[in-house]
């Protein structure tokens, strides 16, 4: 599965996207954000405040309770700041 990062989430992660194999027990977007925050220092910097993170699955906005299932892409980013 691909994780795509945007805005300051991308800057803090140091990459625009990465391919990951989800570990056992990571089922929802919220689980994924928690796992990334615990994985390393970059993840801790990007995801220390999960309430500031928004997510999209396969092109649609979702909440932290959304099941990742066999989605190709999870996108993680801050609230939008408009045009």
């Amino acid at each position: 599965m691909r994780i795509a990062y945007f805005a300051w989430v991308r800057e803090r992660m140091g990459v625009a996207e990465e391919m990951v194999a989800l570990p056992e027990g990571i089922a929802t977007v919220g689980d994924l954000v928690g796992w990334l925050a615990a994985r390393d220092a970059r993840g801790a910097g990007a995801f220390a405040e999960p309430h500031r993170i928004r997510a999209a699955l396969g092109g649609a906005m979702v909440g932290p309770e959304a099941l990742i299932g066999d989605a190709d892409e999870v996108a993680l980013f801050p609230p939008v700041t408009g045009g």
Binding site: F6, A7, P79, V80, T81, G82, G83
Partner: protein, 146 residues
């Protein structure tokens, strides 16, 4: 005719107006948004998600088309790095009736500010650079449309 574009190239307003409209519509309302150089801003960078951003614009265009009788609609949003004075966004709405063209144009620019997946980073002459936080005023205006 609905035309939606997300592009890193400069927006050519005159060309977009010509493409939008060969002159047959009764009323055309437009909105041009430009980068402001307030506070020593030297660059505005707009990050975007290719799919989400385009979907957001197409969804807004479809909402406007369902709400008002529009003969043509053009929605162009620039992304990437821009300088003060550059055009960020262009909305063109045409209808047989002026009230509908004006209302659609205002609806679209209000909603663009909140509903479309874009992230702004501002860089200033003194070297500071920061991602813009969500503004409440944009939400207030967008909320008026219910």
């Amino acid at each position: 005719m609905i035309r939606v574009a997300v592009q890193s190239a400069a927006i050519d307003v005159a060309a977009a107006l010509a493409a939008h409209d060969a002159g047959g519509h009764g009323a055309s309302a437009s909105f041009i948004g430009r980068v402001r150089g307030d506070g020593g801003l030297v660059e505005l960078f707009l990050d975007h998600h290719p799919v989400l951003t385009a979907n957001g614009l197409e969804d807004l265009a479809a909402q406007a088309g369902a709400r008002w009788r529009l003969e043509a609609l053009t929605l162009i949003h620039r992304v990437g790095a821009m300088a003060p004075g550059d055009t960020i966004v262009l909305v063109l709405a045409s209808s047989a009736h002026r009230a509908e063209a004006l209302a659609a144009c205002e609806f679209l620019i209000d909603r663009l500010k909140t509903d479309v997946m874009l992230w702004k980073r501002e860089s200033f002459a003194d070297g500071r650079s920061a991602w813009v936080e969500q503004r409440e005023t944009d939400h207030d205006r967008a909320g008026r449309w219910g």
